[in-house]
């Protein structure tokens, strides 16, 4: 995230069979200040998401769901965008199958996070069924922002625990307090959800390819929103990622005459930056 990580001390390389050439070897003894930074970031995310949990509780109660139904969603579904989508669809009078389908489509992105987290975290088989429940935008963003396995595992666990506890607690408070609060929109709470997504997205936009993907995804989502059922525009906007990769591939192939294939990903991005000037 800030690129200031201390290189892992290579005291006993032979004792570390995990040191695959694909990623940096997971350091066993990272400096404590690094741990504190990870925990601080993770708790920051957890507390901020707590706010949107309150917004969810209020929104769900406003849509006509009972307190038990609202809390069941946060406990069992535990992926915010899908919960908001389901509640919105039910409030609009959609049948349960259509409503669940929209929420499910939104949740499919968690499979992609899981794909990436599985490799990064190397979750032990026994822990997988539990860890899977915590794979959401926020835990993925925090874990993927770390530059070694130890920090990623710490970030995932602390973020997951903080978000799960606070999200469920604030969901309950929101559902109970919905009547007292009145119109949640008057309090601006409907801006909390997108602001969480924006704040998670910001640090990911480092290279030209990442920025191009974000812009294309926004254009696709906006264009599809008025014509497709809820959930589908976001899912189809994900096609921005392969589209940018395809364009990137063409550009790098034409530049391959000049540079070797060594350090592939980084040089491709450097070439793209150079091409912009």
């Amino acid at each position: 995230m800030n690129g200031s990580a201390i290189p892992a001390p290579q005291a006993a390389p032979a004792a570390n069979p995990d040191a695959a050439p694909t990623t940096a070897p997971p350091p066993r003894d990272t400096a404590p200040p690094d741990d504190r930074r990870v925990v601080r970031d993770a708790l920051g995310v957890g507390v901020a998401v707590g706010l949107s949990g309150f917004a969810f509780g209020v929104t769900s109660a406003g849509a006509g769901l009972s307190v038990a139904q609202t809390c069941a969603l946060s406990l069992l579904v535990f992926t915010g965008a899908s919960q908001f989508a389901l509640v919105g669809a039910l409030a609009a009078g959609g049948n349960p199958l259509t409503a669940a389908a929209g929420a499910f489509f939104l949740g499919v992105r968690n499979a992609f996070y899981g794909l990436r987290l599985g490799q990064l975290l190397r979750v032990p088989r026994r822990v997988r069924p539990l860890a899977a429940h915590w794979i959401i935008d926020e835990t993925a963003a925090v874990a993927l922002a770390q530059d070694n396995r130890r920090a990623a595992r710490l970030g995932f666990t602390v973020t997951g625990a903080a978000v799960y506890l606070l999200w469920n607690l604030t969901t309950l408070l929101g559902a109970l307090g919905a009547g007292a609060l009145g119109d949640s929109r008057a309090w601006g709470l409907d801006a909390a959800g997108p602001a969480v997504f924006l704040a998670l997205l910001g640090p990911m936009l480092r290279t030209f390819a990442e920025r191009a993907t974000a812009v294309l995804a926004v254009v696709l989502a906006m264009a599809l929103l008025p014509v497709l059922p809820a959930g589908l525009p976001v899912l189809l906007a994900a096609l921005a990622a392969p589209a940018v990769l395809l364009l990137d591939g063409w550009r790098s192939r034409s530049a391959d005459a000049r540079a070797g294939a060594r350090g592939e990903a980084r040089t491709v991005e450097e070439r793209m930056v150079e091409g912009e000037r």
Partner: protein
């Protein structure tokens, strides 16, 4: 009752896709192209979610309201490297303030 059915379907479906991603063998991601795709996919989804929840309405149409101003303020806070919680608070506060002023 139909609400509980929808909740159950969503809970089971969302959990299974989470588990599916985690259970896929690590070797699947060894190819550089797939690894880059896995990096770019969250970017695309988060960008789309931000846009849809900022400009979308309950009826599936687009609208420019106080949320957009709140998110613009949040973007400025983000560029100024404000902490995560401050970014969210700015978005909520600006949106609420504009609505209080009759937006």
């Amino acid at each position: 009752m139909t609400v509980w059915i929808a909740i159950a379907l969503t809970a089971v479906g969302c959990y299974l896709v989470k588990l599916l991603g985690l259970a896929v063998p690590a070797g699947v991601l060894e190819r550089p192209l797939l690894r880059r795709l896995a990096v770019l996919l969250p970017v695309a989804l988060l960008a789309a979610l931000t846009a849809v929840q900022t400009f979308g309405t309950d009826h599936g149409s687009l609208a420019l309201d106080a949320r957009a101003a709140g998110l613009a303020a949040a973007a400025v806070a983000l560029l100024l490297r404000a902490p995560f919680l401050v970014v969210i608070a700015v978005a909520v506060a600006v949106t609420a303030a504009l609505r209080a002023l009759g937006g």
